[in-house]
């Protein structure tokens, strides 16, 4: 894989401008092997979790576990942002379709952890909806019946179904954005 999954790319587009603010270092933590490397091109001043600094500007968490988020959130500087990607409410169902399961935390525990670290939650978004699987399936079926014209049309609808919305419980991927008050 040379790029993050498309839904995650959409999410990175949402948070990258926030994490670029003030040219401060961004601590990137990942719970999935290789994902940190794929997300790096979005972040100009990224540093890995191994970097030991008292405080960093911002935090980007890519499915990191709760203890990791808790430790990292404590290091977010005043005015800094924390962007945490976690599985959305439909992630379990989507994972069944993908043939795998994931133990990662959901939205509520992540919000609790971030608040506990003194951050203010500004926004919670969902990416991917029930229609995402529907359009992906239709595109595959169209290809199977040799209708690439329809497949192209459904692929476009699939891409559009990934635009962020306000219902993380109806999403494959959720994004929690928080900030430490100045």
């Amino acid at each position: 894989m040379t790029a993050p999954p498309l839904g995650l790319q959409v999410g990175l587009d949402v948070v990258a401008p926030l994490l670029a603010a003030d040219d401060r270092a961004v601590l990137v933590c990942s719970g999935e092997p290789g994902l940190e490397r794929l997300a790096r091109p979005w972040i100009d001043h990224a540093v890995g979790c191994a970097v030991d600094r008292a405080a960093l500007g911002h935090l980007l968490s890519l499915y990191a576990d709760l203890p990791t988020i808790e430790r990292a959130a404590a290091r977010v500087a005043p005015g800094g942002a924390a962007a945490c990607f976690v599985p959305g409410g439909l992630a379990g169902a989507f994972d069944l379709l993908r043939g795998r399961t994931r133990p990662w935390p959901g939205v509520r525990p992540t919000i609790t952890i971030l608040r506990g670290a003194g951050l203010r939650v500004e926004r919670v978004l969902g990416i991917g909806s029930p229609t995402t699987a529907w359009w992906a399936a239709r595109a595959r079926i169209a290809l199977a019946i040799r209708r690439p014209d329809l497949a192209d049309r459904f692929e476009l609808r699939y891409r559009r179904s990934l635009r962020p919305h306000r219902a993380p419980w109806l999403a494959d991927l959720a994004l929690v954005i928080a900030r430490r008050p100045r």
Binding site: Q9, V10, D13, A16, P17, P41, W42, D149
Partner: protein
């Protein structure tokens, strides 16, 4: 003459998009969009920018054009990593790297610069040549050449071939051979790659698709999609191979490809997006700025006997010139993937969104055959009704960038020079 031309106005707009590291801005495309990350991209936008500036330098002798071309070349030098790849070289899929055909297209820019400067500034020429050579040798040939298949892969991880991308790579390799006076850069690759392109070409005299070249293949499975724009981009590589090998089959294939492109042209001068193997069409969006490439390569076929009246397509391009100097990207994005319907009014955001990596194609053409075209009135911002994601907005486009608003509420803004566009999250799409 040049100062008041559409080419000069377009050049000024292109320069206005400069940000840290090069030319930036959003990207709209058939496959993906990159509307938020507006950092500099080091992809095929450099192909037309440098070729255009060098053409203006040749035509006027003014060093300012050469300076701009060199600065563009310096962007690529600075963007090159140890492995030879350029940062953010995936255009619509930015911010990734190792983009095809984007890095090869950027190499053509470096090599044209090297050839242009070799007598007057050999040191600079050597720098550009070395950079292009490093990318071509390590990033393209070693990574993508499939000796068993006799062609360049699109994805190093699996058998895959995209004719138009391979032809762009051939263009770069021919330029490298010219710059180094060493044909080892083309002898093992040119004929075999061109043969692979020919295997993707439809030859059915009298049929709509005669001469069309399939978009891609995976192993032996050819994907039956024929994009007139991308078929046109195969032509220069085929012609270069014909010249090098002396084999007329490649010139004949280029001519057939050109005839296919001409055959698909619509009455208003535009071209459909894609024709499928069964004759079905997804017409929209129809490119505007990119037809500069089509006009340029069809000119190359005139000596071979292509009969083509460029008038309607020149008018199509001219109608897309924006007062700020940029060229609109397309018409019909609102009906993307649909077989018909013009839906030009109101336009979709991405129709009027100027994209450097499309404008460079128009710019290159405006700097050559289209040099007489005047600039389109005063360079003022324009404001127009448009749509995006099915909703109505007011869009302003100009030197100050692109803004989308509903009432007084601004939901999207790209300001030239800014690395990121500002947008409401629900407008963030790929």
């Amino acid at each position: 003459m040049i100062a008041s031309s559409a080419a000069a106005r377009c050049a000024d707009w292109i320069e206005a998009t400069r940000t840290a590291g090069g030319y930036g801005g959003p990207v709209a495309h058939w496959w993906r969009d990159c509307l938020i990350d507006c950092r500099s991209g080091h992809d095929w936008r450099y192909e037309g920018i440098v070729a255009g500036y060098l053409e203006l330098h040749r035509a006027t002798g003014e060093t300012a054009w050469l300076d701009r071309a060199c600065r563009a070349g310096d962007d690529l030098l600075a963007a090159q990593a140890e492995d030879g790849h350029f940062s953010r070289s995936l255009f619509e899929q930015n911010p990734g790297t190792a983009g095809t055909p984007h890095e090869a297209a950027a190499d053509t820019a470096l090599l044209r610069l090297a050839l242009h400067l070799r007598h007057d500034d050999a040191e600079a020429a050597d720098r550009y040549l070395a950079s292009a050579r490093r990318n071509l040798e390590h990033g393209q040939i070693r990574r993508l050449w499939d000796a068993d298949a006799g062609s360049f892969r699109d994805d190093p991880g699996r058998p895959s071939f995209v004719p138009n991308k391979a032809c762009t790579l051939l263009e770069a390799l021919f330029l490298l051979a010219e710059a180094t006076q060493d044909d080892r850069w083309v002898r093992p690759y040119a004929a075999r790659t061109a043969d692979a392109v020919l295997r993707h070409q439809v030859r059915r005299p009298g049929h709509l698709l005669d001469g069309a070249i399939a978009q891609n293949s995976f192993g032996a499975a050819v994907v039956g999609k024929y994009f007139p724009y991308y078929v046109a981009r195969c032509i220069p590589g085929l012609l270069e191979t014909a010249r090098f090998t002396g084999d007329d089959r490649y010139a004949e294939a280029a001519l057939a490809a050109g005839r296919f492109v001409v055959r698909t042209r619509e009455a208003d001068g535009g071209f459909p997006q894609v024709v499928y193997a069964d004759g079905r069409v997804n017409r929209n969006p129809r490119w505007v700025a990119a037809v500069g490439d089509i006009l340029r390569v069809l000119d190359l076929l005139a000596p071979l006997g292509l009969v083509f009246d460029p008038g309607p397509t020149k008018a199509w391009l001219a109608a897309g010139l924006l007062p700020c100097g940029a060229v609109r990207t397309a018409r019909g994005f609102a009906r993307q993937g649909h077989p018909n319907g013009t839906a030009d009014e109101p336009p979709e955001l991405r129709d009027v969104l100027p994209v450097v990596g499309w404008c460079d194609k128009a710019f290159r053409y405006l700097c050559t055959s289209g040099r007489h075209l005047p600039a389109p009135g005063p360079a003022a911002d324009v404001e127009l009704d448009c749509t995006f994601l099915g909703r109505p907005f007011v869009c302003s486009v100009g030197r100050s960038g692109v803004a989308l608003r509903r009432g007084r509420h601004e939901v999207y803004r790209w300001t030239p020079g800014e690395p990121w566009a500002r947008a409401e999250p629900w407008l963030v799409v790929r």
